[in-house]
């Protein structure tokens, strides 16, 4: 039986660009280029490796995001995923983590799955909670923050490197997994991969398809509200000295002045 893998990928504003908030205090997506969250490339990579190790597996990449989020799906398809699902609806604008998890969970159930693979965190919201939220909503095991993962005999195993300990985890499928950037470098799409991606199917779903009411998501339906966003004032220029033999001493002088020594 085929192993059905769903990889959740997020389309995010480029972190090296100048990220801003729009007037309604959501992320301004017009001002800066978007791309597939780099940390989700690791999720796609691990899914590809799990597929390669399995007899028969199929990878669906899933995103919830605006029209342009299609770019994130194309990138994942060009890396080697088989098909894509794009949940797109004007009413999704401003959805928070609880809302996003609701939409993702419904889309995952509709697609059908044995394994859900996520990144450790998005590079914009950086909450790192979506995988746990999904496990709770889908009522399946959460096997998260893995720096090593494998799937065999209907089980997923992996290593979670925590603050105080490193843990070896095991769960029966279906399960939700998230992987860290320690799990292994993500592959680059090949030219062949990029060409092939153009022909791969992308299914588009809206809220109605998922039987979600508009007021359960979006800015209005959000469980959280942002009341203000202020750009951090530029730091006042610091003192910079060239080391001409006295750099260490001068620095010590500064630290002493600040009472650190």
């Amino acid at each position: 039986m085929s192993l059905r893998i769903v990889v959740c990928v997020k389309y995010v504003p480029d972190a090296t660009g100048d990220r801003h908030f729009a007037e309604d205090l959501t992320v301004d997506r017009d001002d800066v280029d978007g791309l597939l969250s780099e940390l989700d490339e690791y999720a796609v990579e691990q899914a590809l490796q799990i597929k390669e190790a399995a007899d028969d597996a199929e990878i669906t990449v899933l995103t919830v995001g605006p029209e342009d989020a299609n770019d994130a799906l194309r990138k994942a398809l060009s890396m080697g995923a088989d098909k894509a699902v794009h949940v797109e609806d004007d009413d999704l604008h401003g959805t928070d983590a609880l809302g996003t998890s609701l939409v993702l969970a419904k889309a995952i159930e509709k697609t059908g799955y044995d394994l859900v693979v996520c990144g450790m965190a998005s590079t914009d919201g950086t909450m790192g909670v979506l995988p746990a939220l999904l496990a709770e909503r889908l009522n399946v095991p959460q096997v998260t923050q893995l720096s090593e993962v494998s799937v065999a005999d209907g089980k997923v195993t992996g290593r979670r490197d925590g603050d105080t300990a490193s843990e070896q985890l095991e769960a029966a499928l279906p399960a939700v997994v998230s992987v860290t950037d320690q799990s292994g470098e993500a592959r680059y799409p090949s030219f062949k991969g990029i060409m092939a991606a153009k022909k791969k199917p992308v299914e588009s779903l809206d809220l109605e398809d998922l039987e979600i009411e508009a007021d359960e998501v979006g800015l209005e339906g959000a469980w959280t509200k942002v009341d203000g966003a202020a750009e951090r004032p530029a730091r006042t220029a610091g003192t910079i000295v060239k080391d001409e033999g006295e750099g260490g001493k001068q620095l010590a002088e500064f630290l002493a002045g600040q009472k650190f020594i």
Binding site: D96, T123, M127, V129, A132, L133, A135, E136, P141, G247
Partner: protein
Amino acid sequence: MAEVLVYVDHVDGAVRKPTLELLTLARRIGEPVAVHLGPNAEAAAQVLGEHGAVKVLAADAPEFAEYLVAPKVDALQAAYDAVSPAAVLLPSSTEGKEIGARLAVRIGSGIITDAVDLEAGDEGPVATQSVFAASYTTKSRITKGTPVITVKPNSAAPEAAPAAGTVEQLAVTVADSSKGTKVVSRTPRESTGRPELTEAAIVVSGGRGVNGAENFPVIEALADSLGAAVGASRAAVDAGWYPHTNQVGQTGKSVSPQLYIAAGISGAIQHRAGMQTSKTIVAINKDEEAPIFDLVDYGVVGDLFDVVPALTDEVKTRKG
């Protein structure tokens, strides 16, 4: 006054500093009730009481260690049901965020993660977040359900506030569906004897400029002279020069010490995401164009192998 649940982060009953910070913040919005899961609640209760916990709800069950996260969510939910709190606060650790997230789904509430400050507002607690690699500061609140908020370490100075800290046993039933992810084995991390990275008042980090594992003792010596924790950039970690647990940045630890010293680190956005909120920032880099210099209060353009040992000597001399 309304009660506020505070999830206790501890190692065998030794309460970690971020929890004491949470108790301080909790007192701004109500009466802190601590939730202690695992062994040695009595020992923990002492410290928790000294920092304002009016009550400590305690539960211990083998399932907390045998399975990942979910049994602890069952326990926190039991505490929530027992208290009907005005808010639930947890530390912004990987586990704290995951427990908070799952609880939020169960109780139909919103969640805010990585708050760096918290105050009482007319419509519930208002959380400050530092987002987009600390280039923006936002104020947010939760509009549905009971606010679940995770708070970053070093967001408040722990204040002593003697309270009863009475231990009450919490009855917890771990659901079968919470036993899905087995912890097959656990290898504790060896202690270096240095302060914990996220909690340290001073952090000294080394990057690619350190140029080899064999040179990291140069960084460690400076850290030890200052009583600091040691950090590393991802370039240094990926090269195998220092453990990943010491990585500072977006995919490493987020630190917010009084003093951050970066040696041989260029200051890429992902590194900045983890250290930009440090109070005082110092850099040593031989390239005067390195972006890290845009952030510093004090910068030395020079070879770290000259500057760092000289600084270490000077610190030792001054400290006597």
